[in-house]
């Protein structure tokens, strides 16, 4: 039996087998004898999640545009299929060729969230590739990783050969070209890594030595070779309007989380909410012109056959020409029976005009990310929306017939008091009042307000990177306080499980020693940690204990401004002094204007193409 025949037989007994066999419309199959560099793009979570990820779609077609490169996809199998693979002795394979990953030149992981870390180890093991970087001696396969979590990749540094910092459209090709050159002349892994370290945005963790103080804090991070720069700068695409964007997607057979065309309209965010990592690490704010967006929308819809297109960004309504953009896009989508969705809108520019537009394209409810219950705390986190804006938007929405409102909040934010918690309940009740004040003939039948709270996780490269996370006991108390304060049956509360937030905080701010704990937890069977049914916090606790690491040291400890952070050798262009200044302002509940209102000097040079930089 061929590998394919074997796999096909096994698929008769697993859940949603279409996830494991490839062959989807848009998947790229090449003749491997004509390929110089084979790249396996691995998403360390199941197909349904990974196939929804826009970054993978971009890099997949970017690499496949090049005749001599072949990029394939690989995902984490569900537990049932994983067992089938093990029982039948089939190594993890990529979906296009069905070839095992160990035959590839490069294995690339995208680290989108901390709870996917152990899946990286599982996937390597299933592929029969040594999990530890030091145990992989040959040039192939090189294991690389990118994505937002790479802004502090230290807890993954034992497993990954190369981290790619920032935006991947240029640096991925540069790295693969270099690899090709070294491979052709029969060079070694060591040689390749030394050369790669010269490329901007490339971080080779083994080229840096880390020392510690007696109190467990970091003493020094220093390169151990002249080839490695003391500070590694993230990559930015300055000419965002002309950046590569795919004109096709791989269209899955089975349903996935985001099953639609997606067009990126802008990158970066002008807002600077102090808890938000994306708001800082993706700076500066750049946008695409209307014609480009229109063209990309049309191409994608025609190629994929999706009847829905979504505009992707951190805050779509911040596009400088949003009204015109929506109008022109709607001209196309209306004609083609395609529905248009806008996932990230902000309250403050949510006008009745825009609402009118949305009414024709969306059937879902309103979602507000208020984040905090009182104006004082919203000022602390620099979420510049006011209660009156929220209420007036709700009023407009209720008059337009909307009947479901979702409100997102965080618990455990810096400086938070019980008054702030009660403020969440108060705000929800005020929104309820607005509904009942809306004339009966205008408003819809029955109102449902959902309040969701998540636990605040302090993240690197934000002004709150210095802040401790509230302890699980404290979060528990706060949640109970909120439950008591919500009195209406029309308001539903859902809270986030805290154990995962604790682990997220540890992994987000962890140092190199935490690699051992990740390894240990994985050895104990931790994987698919992002899934409640698989998450086992007790095993993680044991793993930390066995490695002599204290979760509270990482999650619940306040850092001084002069403490060396595990990610201080990485340069995400926003200066530390700006972050410190923002942190100080937070404690004074002082807000900072957004980029559009005027530059606040975060440190990003205007040569990076930011729309508002230096203005």
């Amino acid at each position: 039996m061929t590998n394919k025949e074997k796999i096909e037989q096994l698929l008769l007994n697993v859940q949603k087998p279409a996830r494991y066999i490839g062959g989807e419309h848009g998947s790229v199959v090449k003749d491997k004898s004509k390929i110089d560099v084979r790249f396996a793009f691995c998403f360390p979570d199941v197909y349904d999640i990974g196939m929804s990820h826009l970054g993978m779609k971009i890099l997949y077609s970017l690499k496949n545009e090049r005749e001599n490169f072949w990029c394939e996809r690989c995902f984490m199998p569900e537990k049932d299929y994983k067992q089938v693979l093990i029982d039948n002795d089939i190594p993890l394979y990529a979906l296009e060729s069905l070839d095992p990953l160990y035959e590839f030149d490069m294995i690339g992981f995208t680290l989108q969230y901390e709870l996917s870390y152990t899946n990286v180890l599982s996937m390597l093991e299933l592929a029969r590739i040594p999990v530890l970087a030091k145990d992989r001696h040959a040039l192939a396969p090189i294991v690389v990783a990118g994505g937002p979590c790479v802004c502090n990749p230290e807890p993954m540094s034992d497993f990954i050969d190369i981290f790619i910092l920032g935006e991947g459209e240029e640096v991925n090709l540069e790295l693969m070209d270099l690899y090709n050159e070294v491979k052709k002349r029969g060079g070694s892994k060591e040689e390749f890594l030394h050369l790669a370290a010269h490329i901007e945005g490339i971080y080779v963790p083994s080229f840096y030595d880390v020392t510690y103080n007696v109190d467990g804090t970091l003493k020094c991070i220093k390169p151990n070779t002249d080839d490695a720069p003391p500070k590694i700068k993230k990559r930015v695409i300055a000419d965002f309007d002309n950046v590569f964007f795919p004109d096709y997607f791989v269209v899955p057979y089975t349903s996935i989380v985001h099953d639609r065309s997606v067009v990126e309209v802008l990158r970066g965010c002008i807002r600077g909410c102090r808890f938000c990592q994306a708001g800082f690490i993706y700076r500066p704010f750049r946008e695409k012109s209307i014609d480009i967006i229109k063209n990309e929308t049309k191409c994608l819809c025609e190629q994929t056959g999706y009847d829905e297109v979504s505009l992707s960004s951190l805050s779509t309504s911040d596009h400088t020409k949003i009204a015109q953009l929506l109008k022109e896009l709607a001209d196309y989508t209306d004609l083609e029976n395609v529905s248009l969705s806008l996932p990230s809108l902000r309250i403050d520019n949510f006008s009745s005009d825009l609402l009118e537009r949305l009414k024709t394209i969306r059937k879902s409810g309103l979602t507000f990310a208020c984040e905090a219950g009182t104006q004082r705390l919203r000022d602390v986190i620099n979420k510049n929306i006011t209660e009156s804006e929220i209420l007036s938007t709700c009023k407009t929405a209720f008059e337009g017939g909307y009947t479901t409102v979702k409100l997102y909040f965080m618990l455990g934010l810096p400086t938070e008091t019980d008054e702030d918690i009660l403020g969440i309940a108060e705000l929800a009740h005020k929104i309820l009042d607005v509904y009942f004040e809306t004339p009966k003939e205008l408003r819809g039948g029955s109102i449902q307000i959902s309040v969701s709270t998540a636990t605040f996780v302090p993240k690197p490269f934000t002004p709150f990177e210095f802040e401790p996370q509230a302890t699980p006991e404290e979060i528990d108390r706060k949640q109970k306080l909120l439950v008591k304060a919500l009195r209406s049956k029309k308001i539903k509360l859902s809270t986030h499980q805290d154990d995962t937030s604790v682990l997220e905080a540890c992994l987000a701010k962890g140092d190199r020693r935490m690699s051992k704990a990740v390894y240990q937890a994985w050895k104990k069977g931790c994987e698919l940690d992002g899934w409640n049914e698989h998450f086992d916090f007790s095993k993680w606790r044991e793993a930390f204990d066995e490695c002599g690491l204290d979760m509270a040291f990482y999650a619940n400890r306040k850092r001084e401004y002069d403490e060396l952070m595990p990610w201080d050798h990485l340069d995400y262009l926003v200066t530390k002094s700006f972050l410190i200044n923002e942190n100080k302002k937070a404690h004074l509940a002082k807000t900072t204007r957004n980029c559009k209102e005027g530059c606040s000097g975060c440190g990003i040079n205007k040569s990076y193409g930011g729309v508002y930089c230096g203005k």
Binding site: P17, Y253, T254, G305
Partner: protein, 233 residues
């Protein structure tokens, strides 16, 4: 909702033209579930720019109808799908346009008018190519299995869970031969609204009878048969 009670396209009373497509589902495409076929075809039609007719309600949907479900993992030469278009199209052109937008494994073989009713469907013919593990005499064992007085198997019922039934009267073996270590059987089982027996019911029963797992099994639906014994497609 207080205002705007009319569905989006209620005002448009569009003419509809009905077509019956006969298509095959082979290779990797056999892992597309019945539920996912709807999604898959709606995208194919969109890519092929077929003027499909939308249902007229609050949530307009493509009108696609599959009278018979095909079990996940089974191939077929004769799947049926009824669709409606908003304009008349030449059968050949319709077929070519759709086929140019199809993914690997799916292809339209025939376009007809929906002459017969779905209710006329009574049975399906299958070609099953299979081999037991550990070099068992698959062909001989299968013949023995079918020649029992009763063929007791377990069938999943919606109401009662797993039930024991005798399918002896339902199985009609047309031929069985050995080919390259495989047993190859052509047989007929009931399909449709009145009675439906999945090949896996028969084959799981065989596995139990033989006391061995399959090393390989390939099942293909080759014909759909009406109550009067005619070929439905």
């Amino acid at each position: 909702m207080a205002n705007n009670l009319t569905p989006k396209n209620m005002a448009l009373r569009v003419e509809r033209y009905d077509y019956r497509l006969v298509f095959s589902k082979k290779g990797r495409a056999r892992f597309i579930s019945h539920l996912d076929m709807m999604r898959t075809f709606s995208r194919i039609f969109k890519r092929a720019r077929i003027p499909v007719w939308y249902t007229q309600g609050f949530n307009p949907r493509l009108y696609i109808m599959f009278p018979l479900a095909l079990p996940l993992g089974t191939e077929s030469d004769v799947e049926i799908m009824d669709i409606s278009l908003t304009e008349r199209m030449d059968s050949d052109e319709l077929m070519t346009r759709i086929n140019s937008a199809m993914p690997e494994g799916l292809s339209i073989n025939k376009v007809t008018e929906p002459a017969m009713d779905h209710k006329d469907i009574a049975a399906s013919q299958y070609n099953i190519r299979f081999k037991l593990k550990n070099d068992k005499d698959t062909c001989g064992l299968f013949k023995d299995y079918l020649s029992q007085d009763r063929i007791n198997v377990k069938k999943r019922s919606k109401k009662k869970g797993l039930i024991d039934i005798d399918i002896k009267p339902d199985v009609k073996l047309l031929s069985i031969k050995e080919d390259d270590g495989f047993a190859v059987a052509d047989l007929i089982l009931p399909s449709g609204n009145d009675k439906n027996i999945n090949t896996s019911v028969l084959m799981d029963g065989f596995k139990e009878y033989a006391g061995e797992e399959f090393e390989q099994i390939y099942t293909t639906r080759t014909k759909i048969i009406t109550k009067t014994g005619e070929n439905f497609t």
